[in-house]
């Protein structure tokens, strides 16, 4: 119930000792003449979950791509664990989970999971071992040899998650990863994600238009306004976990954030 009142604006400085997994400072991005992002600043403390919410067209995905290093900012900087610069020289592993599961139809579930490890040299047996490990973690034991078309949407989503986790990421970026699942499956995936996050101690940054999803998962929420994308508000969510979307305090927080969008 008290969440919105506890929510701090980002401008109210917190102690400097907090180590940030990612810091975005004054990032702007244009596509041709169209201003997509304007002066975006945000940060996610190491080990926290940050949600970026906003209406469609506010540049959420573009922002995530810039953090991932898949797109370049025109102005401003992105700092990962204190290091600015070219992502390809970065030792910190960042995984990106796309909106679609993007499973390769010609690969089995185990081989799809291993895909994340194939960019670097590694023994095949070690790859297999690590993929089986994350498949177990995501509840896919016994489906190693199935092909993607044999699985349901929820299970495919688990495979995509397993593929993101197999590289042992320092930070996991997700672009509306569960938006195509039915509500029940989605909340199940939320619980799984939080459980795995506790296990692997990684930072999660995700984009969503679903405010409820943001409140249930995130420690901090960045609300963007559209055209061009700007930061409207930053809220810290201190509600106890697990968060039940039907509980009064969670519902209140959802209402509060919806009003901002």
């Amino acid at each position: 119930m008290n969440a919105p009142h506890n929510a701090l604006a980002f401008t109210q400085d917190r102690p400097a000792a907090v180590r940030n997994a990612v810091e975005v400072a004054h990032v702007s991005k244009q596509f041709g003449k169209l201003m997509v992002l304007e002066d975006i600043s945000l940060s996610a403390p190491a080990g926290s979950v940050l949600a970026i919410v906003g209406a469609s067209g506010c540049g959420k995905s573009t922002l995530l791509n810039i953090i991932a290093g898949l797109a370049r900012a025109d102005r401003g900087s992105v700092t990962i664990d204190g290091a600015t610069g070219d992502r390809s020289h970065d030792t910190r592993v960042i995984s990106y989970m796309f909106q679609e599961d993007r499973l390769l139809p010609w690969r089995t579930i185990a081989a799809n999971t291993e895909f994340g490890l194939e960019a670097r040299p590694m023994r095949a047996s070690e790859r297999r071992e690590r993929s089986l490990e994350v498949l177990k973690m995501t509840g896919l034991e016994g489906f190693e040899n199935a092909y993607p078309h044999e699985l349901s949407g929820g299970m495919r989503s688990r495979v995509a998650l397993a593929r993101s986790l197999v590289v042992k990421p320092y930070m996991l970026l997700m672009d509306e990863p569960f938006s195509k699942l039915d509500p029940q499956m989605r909340s199940q995936m939320h619980a799984e994600l939080l459980r795995i996050r506790d296990q692997l101690k990684m930072t999660i940054v995700f984009v969503t238009h679903d405010v409820e999803e943001a409140i249930v998962l995130a420690d901090r929420i960045v609300v963007l306004k559209p055209r061009p994308g700007r930061v409207r508000d930053v809220l810290d969510i201190d509600l106890p976990r697990p968060r039940d979307p039907l509980a009064a305090d969670v519902a209140e927080a959802v209402r509060h954030v919806r009003a901002l969008i």
């Binding site: 992502r87 993007r102 390769l104």
Partner: protein, 269 residues
């Protein structure tokens, strides 16, 4: 629960597939019987030098096999077809991937392909005769010129259809361009390569005979022309039968099983 239902459905799948195979064999046998009856009836009313009967053709075939050069002729023709086809696959596949993955290059070379495709196999055979004379090279060249554009076109189309989302996925894992080629492009292109290669092998096989009739002193094509010159129609029929049997063996003994194995990840329709 999910795995249980999978097991059950695969068991019923198997019996359904067995029934399907039995039905298919019966159908094929019936078709063969119809063909043989029509042949037999037609041969009854026509002189043997125009249309030899089944028995006469069978005798000619046995004679050919006994003559000693049968295996050599078949072997040399097969060698030329396989050599031309292999060269075509080696050249056409990488070329198709490059042209398909690079829009500007593809646009530039697009007309060339149409031009090559319009040139008749007989013209290639004549050119080959001028350049290579009576040799293996003539037939191999003709097979190559016929098969290469087919493989190239199919692979080209396949490479154009590569899912950009998969490439982005590979990029998010920081895969090198070479790995994107082998891990995304190649598997996407493989079904297209296969349909192209199947066409190319069939075409190559047919044009090899044309090439051998004018540019060779052995092989099935040469024997066919010899038999035709001497009006040994029964021998022409015997060779034709041999070729048909060979193509059927290649199709159902090699290509189909290979295809089923390679593309087992595809959803059964």
């Amino acid at each position: 629960m999910a795995s249980l239902s999978t097991v059950r459905s695969s068991a019923s799948d198997r019996s359904a597939r067995l029934a399907g195979v039995a039905g298919m064999i019966a159908q094929r046998a019936a078709l063969l019987a119809v063909f043989l009856v029509v042949w037999w009836l037609a041969a009854l009313r026509v002189p043997a030098f125009i249309l030899p009967g089944i028995g006469k053709t069978w005798d000619a075939l046995r004679e050919l096999i006994a003559s000693g050069t049968f295996g050599d002729d078949l072997g040399i023709t097969l060698y030329r077809v396989v050599a031309g086809f292999a060269l075509a696959a080696l050249v056409g596949t990488p070329l198709g991937v490059v042209l398909g993955s690079n829009r500007r290059l593809g646009q530039f070379f697009d007309p060339l392909l149409s031009v090559v495709n319009t040139v008749s196999a007989a013209i290639w055979a004549i050119f080959a005769l001028i350049w290579f004379g009576i040799s293996n090279g003539t037939t191999i060249f003709v097979v190559f010129m016929e098969a290469m554009p087919l493989i190239l076109t199919n692979v080209w189309q396949g490479a154009q259809g590569v899912n950009a989302e998969y490439i982005e996925l590979a990029r998010s894992f920081q895969m090198s361009r070479a790995k994107v080629m082998t891990k995304i492009y190649l598997p996407t292109v493989l079904p297209h390569f296969f349909s192209g290669a199947r066409l190319a092998f069939g075409f190559g096989w047919r044009v090899s005979l044309v090439a051998e009739t004018i540019g060779s002193s052995n092989g099935v094509g040469y024997r066919l022309r010899q038999a035709a010159d001497l009006v040994q129609t029964d021998q022409v029929f015997a060779w034709t039968l041999t070729l048909i049997v060979m193509m059927v063996v290649v199709e159902y003994g090699i290509l189909k099983p290979l295809e089923n194995r390679l593309f087992r990840w595809k959803r059964r329709v």
